[in-house]
């Protein structure tokens, strides 16, 4: 284990909690203010989409503001996960680097759709077809880009299965490896939404939205838990000089 990768456990715990707080703010603005939960059906016409933004326009735009503030909630946990991975990797921590970079860039696809919906709500009285265009852009941006996320998960899976640390002390117990593998396998449903406007394969359906939403929430909660548990253990080790 390379000591140079040890970072302050206190800073790392702060970052995990920052993710948790920002994720809650994001959820409130997405569910409560933008009211995109459940998502609007992908089959809506221009005349049906326009009122999503023109009715309660100010509430929606306040939701956008909080979404823009909190949309980077994945960045702090991504960095902490990579520090924890780097502790366990031998030599140059290539999987930690991959995880960090793909996680940071991937967060754009959480944050940017909010701005796109913000544009949709900014001039709500424009021709409905234009609002439909930007609305669909925002939704496809939110649901379908996939390339980076599986790479991010792959790094976590590799470390979970190759590490030399007992499961109870590690941020990546083997079950976390399998949970992450499930998340990886599941994530491939997203791009399929490009093909469908109705039914369970559309962006408001079971495959691209509900299943990944449920699994991602569970996965994020689980990894916050295992990382905090591992940090507590590392803090105890440091306190006893171990």
């Amino acid at each position: 284990m390379d000591k140079s990768f040890h970072a302050s456990t206190r800073s790392q715990r702060f970052l995990v909690w920052l993710t948790i707080v920002l994720a809650v703010v994001f959820a409130i603005s997405y569910v409560g203010l933008m009211r995109f939960f459940p998502p609007p059906p992908a089959s809506l016409s221009a005349e049906e989409v326009a009122p999503l933004y023109s009715e309660h326009n100010i509430r929606f735009r306040i939701g956008v503001i909080f979404g823009l503030i909190s949309g980077g909630f994945l960045v702090p946990i991504t960095i902490v996960i990579s520090l924890q991975m780097a502790r366990l990797e031998k030599g140059v921590p290539i999987w930690a680097i991959l995880q960090a970079l793909t996680g940071v860039v991937g967060t754009v696809f959480v944050w940017l759709p909010v701005l796109v919906w913000g544009v949709a709500s900014f001039t709500a009285e424009r021709a409905p077809e234009l609002t439909l265009l930007i609305h669909e852009f925002g939704w496809l941006l939110f649901i379908t880009p996939l390339s980076l996320f599986p790479m991010q998960l792959l790094g976590i899976i590799v470390v979970a299965f190759t590490k030399d640390e007992p499961d109870g002390h590690s941020a990546f117990p083997r079950w976390m490896g399998y949970l992450t593998a499930w998340q990886l396998v599941q994530s491939f449903g997203g791009p399929i939404a490009v093909l469908f406007k109705t039914g369970i394969f559309s962006w408001a359906g079971l495959l691209p939205f509900w299943a990944p939403f449920a699994l991602f929430s569970a996965w994020l909660a689980a990894i916050c838990y295992t990382v905090l548990r591992a940090l507590r253990h590392q803090q105890q080790l440091a306190a006893t000089g171990g």
Partner: protein
């Protein structure tokens, strides 16, 4: 109950037998397997639900699919599952000669499956049948593309396992990982059998 041991047991496995019986792979992999199967069960349930509203349309659409192609693909996956089961057995006995070979046979069947699926898609698209031709085909393309993604991931795993089992695996955790990979492949096979029954056979 026998104590855990690293010497070959009566099945010839190098893996210590935990008290209470042997879980294929390890407990954690069943998060993935049961999770994925539950998720697919929801998809299958939705298919049957949509089907009840238009049984005639679903049956008419189903007639466009070739049962022979579907059956060939089923046989390919069943055969590959047999190879993979044998390969996992060989790997846990420390047989570094036949395990990689058996995994490669399994991989060859998987590639055959992917090629035949590609041919089937091409043929349907040539005839102008696309995702929105009928709800049946939305499900056909949605389910089979999703399953094909699993086949591709599984094929990558089979390739990786054929490389990994070329050396003697000494750690029980490595053998568990090979068994888990095998279980994933059996799940991919099992899901296909249900998809085959639902899309090609249900009348």
């Amino acid at each position: 109950m026998e104590p855990a041991t690293l010497s070959p047991d009566n099945t010839g496995s190098l893996r210590p037998e935990p008290p209470g019986g042997h879980i294929p792979g390890e407990a954690g992999v069943w998060i993935l397997l049961f999770g994925e199967m539950t998720f697919f069960a929801l998809l299958f349930g939705s298919f049957l639900l949509y089907r009840t509203s238009d049984i005639a349309g679903f049956t008419a659409s189903q007639a466009h699919l070739s049962k022979a192609v579907g059956l060939t693909n089923t046989l390919l996956l069943l055969t590959s599952s047999l190879f993979v089961a044998k390969a996992v057995g060989a790997a846990s006995r420390g047989d570094t000669g036949s395990a990689p070979r058996l995994f490669r046979f399994g991989l060859a069947c998987a590639i055959g499956f992917i090629a035949l699926k590609g041919f089937e898609y091409y043929e349907l698209l040539e005839r102008g049948i696309v995702v929105n031709s009928h709800v049946f085909f939305s499900f056909y393309f949605g389910l089979t593309v999703l399953h094909l993604g699993h086949v591709v991931i599984g094929s990558v795993l089979l390739g990786a396992m054929s490389v990994a089992t070329g050396k003697l695996l000494t750690k029980p955790s490595h053998i568990a990982l090979i068994e888990s990979g095998g279980c994933f492949w059996h799940m991919v096979d099992l899901l296909w059998i249900i998809i085959f029954a639902l899309l090609y056979l249900v009348e």
